[in-house]
């Protein structure tokens, strides 16, 4: 158990004896069932790659805050049990947030671990440069914050945040960042400017905002410029004679002057139906040409399986490496997201379609939310589809059934 968690739990216990403390406990159960696409070019037998059929997370999140004189303590701690295919069973605990803060006039200073979330969009959020959240993830667990020193100023209709962050998790001393966010709200719009500088990746800066067009319609958008971006590149792409690698064939390649942007519209009808349409562009994702080259390589690698002179293990190992890399970053350079939601009294259905525009492949998520006796249920299915040699058509997973059951105390 990490030291930060022990400290967090200590503070939680202390807060339970403190009359001014505010404490909440969230319990989540998140089972998922996965089905795999045996026709996929990424398909690999189970002995070469982990392909869990059933994953289960049981999560407890304890949040508390309390004041001692002029200092405010805040803790968000997670205890999690993870079961995969009813065999492997791991339990772990960590502090998502653990910080002390002090207010002086309109300034607030904090030291410790804090979660930061920037940006305004729904499907992809380029401005989220401190700790990027995958907006397509199913899990509802809280993120783990970043350690640092924070200064926030809250003025009339604006706020300024400045932070110095040190990434203690990765034990990489060079991962130090300086970041800032300026936020303002006006009559019809919210706007923010973000900036981050790090020793290893130069600077990122961007702008984003929401413009309320009418009672029902809002326009949102964000754009981020990155001086440098690290991209996972397959070293065999573009080579004609070498098809197999003896070691991990991916290496990080530095890409200069990268732009990512999102623009979208949200509409809400008086009957509680809402629609979000969003177009996103990201130069750090693989281009259609790069995906095509990867699919061609995989096809040729699979052709080697019939060659008796080449060990099958070597071929499957190479395919598994590519499958893992693709799983970590399954994005197209241009995406379109359409989300329909109905906020009914008893049931709240949601349909989300993410279309990779270069190849028209799709990720479709159908979900329904329901509350019963203060217990929240979210049940859904995610389906990947598309033609051969397309991003989601070749996805290793074809379907995921999931549920999230949660209760706050």
């Amino acid at each position: 158990m990490s030291r930060s968690l022990i400290f967090a739990l200590g503070l939680c216990l202390l807060s339970s004896a403190n009359a001014t403390a505010q404490t909440t406990l969230s319990v989540l159960w998140q089972p998922q069932r996965h089905y795999y696409n045996s026709e996929s070019l990424f398909y690999t037998p189970a002995q070469y790659i982990a392909k869990p059929a059933h994953q289960d997370w049981l999560v407890g999140e304890l949040a508390t805050s309390y004041s001692v004189k002029a200092l405010d303590f805040s803790v968000l701690a997670t205890a999690q049990q993870y079961v995969v295919d009813e065999q492997a069973d791991t339990a772990r605990g960590y502090a998502n947030e653990l910080f002390v803060s002090h207010s002086q006039g309109d300034w607030e200073y904090s030291l410790g671990r804090k979660i930061s979330s920037w940006g305004v969009a729904y499907g992809a959020r380029p401005l989220d440069i401190i700790q990027h959240q995958d907006q397509q993830r199913i899990s509802r667990q809280s993120d783990k914050g970043k350690d640092g020193v924070y200064a926030d100023y809250f003025g009339h209709q604006y706020a300024l945040s400045i932070m110095y962050l040190f990434d203690t998790d990765n034990n990489q001393d060079n991962r130090r960042h300086v970041a800032a966010q300026y936020y303002t709200n006006r009559d019809r719009f919210d706007a923010q400017w973000v900036f981050k500088w790090s020793e290893d990746a130069g600077f990122n800066t961007g702008l984003g905002g929401v413009l309320v067009l009418s009672d029902a319609l809002a326009l949102h958008g964000e754009v981020l410029y990155s001086q440098d971006s690290l991209m996972q590149q397959h070293v065999l792409l573009g080579q004609t004679d070498v098809l197999l690698s003896q070691q991990l064939p991916y290496e990080e390649q530095r890409q200069d002057h990268v732009i990512a942007a999102v623009v979208g519209l949200s509409y809400t009808h008086a009957n509680n139906q809402s629609v979000v349409l969003e177009y996103s562009y990201d130069e750090s994702a693989y281009s259609n040409k790069q995906w095509d080259a990867l699919f061609s390589l995989l096809e040729r690698q699979r052709g080697l399986l019939t060659d008796p002179n080449i060990p099958a293990e070597a071929v499957w190992g190479n395919i598994a490496w590519s499958a893992l890399a693709a799983q970590q970053n399954p994005r197209a350079r241009r995406d379109l997201m359409l989300r329909w939601q109905w906020g009914g009294l008893d049931w709240q259905p949601t349909v989300t379609a993410l279309v990779a525009l270069p190849d028209q492949s799709r990720m479709l998520t159908l979900a329904i939310e329901h509350e019963f006796d203060n217990v929240y249920f979210d049940i859904g299915i995610r389906h990947f589809s598309g033609a051969d040699k397309t991003l989601y058509g070749e996805n290793m997973m074809s379907n995921t059934l999931y549920a999230v059951v949660s209760r706050d105390f």
């Binding site: 505010q22 309109d106 809280s142 809250f154």
Partner: protein, 246 residues
């Protein structure tokens, strides 16, 4: 001389109309005082949804109101714990405890459970509506006074309200709430407790004109003067401090 008479004959109806409008606005101010009798207050509210006369859902909120249409609504029910809706003028933000960022929302997105934010976030019609006396200022059958309230700003949930007041002290009795489309959305009835200066509104029952089998009770559980620091009305502050001790 004829000019003066002409001018006077034109001015008199205007003056009479101005007097009638001022009277209507004064009646509305008195009606408001039953619900919010201080400029800065904390009001604890319970919203109960009844279906076929049986309790279906219940939600609790604390509402912090400052002058100039500044309201912070904090969810207190298990399902919405830590959820906040901030209203500044005609602007709305939703702050969810796990998102750590303020979400600017359109007025249409500002629903809180079964009641709209406007039903609990604004407790003074006088700040949002222009009152005029209805053509039949006094309903012949009920003897109630009738005011027509017309929205004087964007962002209000109902564009028009027909408000019936008890002639004794202008206590609100019934309100018909109309949407911008002119459609009658809900009918509200009000309940009171106490006598004299201590008399205050304790319930507002909203009946949907479409879903006739259900109704919503808004109970004002407590109301006390409360001064919340101004930084709490900054969306960025709320997002960065999800576990406010209030």
């Amino acid at each position: 001389m004829f000019k003066y008479w002409l001018l006077l004959s034109l001015l008199l109806p205007c003056l009479a109309q101005a007097n009638a409008d001022e009277l209507a606005q004064a009646m509305l101010r008195e009606a408001d005082s039953y619900r919010q009798n201080s400029d800065e207050v904390k009001v604890s509210v319970r919203i109960s949804l009844f279906k076929n006369n049986e309790l279906d859902k219940e939600q609790r909120y604390d509402v912090f109101i400052k002058p100039d249409r500044q309201t912070l609504v904090i969810g207190r029910s298990p399902l919405e714990i830590g959820q906040k809706v901030l209203m500044l003028d005609d602007k709305f933000w939703l702050v969810l405890p796990k998102t750590k960022r303020p979400i600017r929302i359109t007025p249409m997105q500002k629903l809180l459970g079964e009641a709209s934010t406007g039903d609990i976030a604004t407790m003074r019609w006088n700040e949002d509506y222009k009152a005029t006396l209805s053509a039949h200022a006094k309903d012949a059958e009920s003897g109630l006074h009738e005011l027509i309230l017309t929205a004087k700003r964007k962002g209000v949930t109902y564009k028009k309200i027909l408000l019936s007041l008890d002639p004794q002290g202008n206590q609100p009795v019934r309100a018909e709430l109309y949407l911008a489309s002119g459609k009658l959305a809900k009918v509200a009835n009000f309940g009171f407790e106490g006598v004299g200066d201590q008399r205050r509104m304790v319930t507002m029952t909203l009946r949907d004109k479409i879903k006739r089998s259900q109704y919503t009770d808004i109970e004002y559980l407590s109301s006390e003067p409360y001064q919340l620091p101004k930084k709490f009305y900054n969306p960025a502050y709320l997002a960065k401090n999800p576990r406010l001790q209030l």
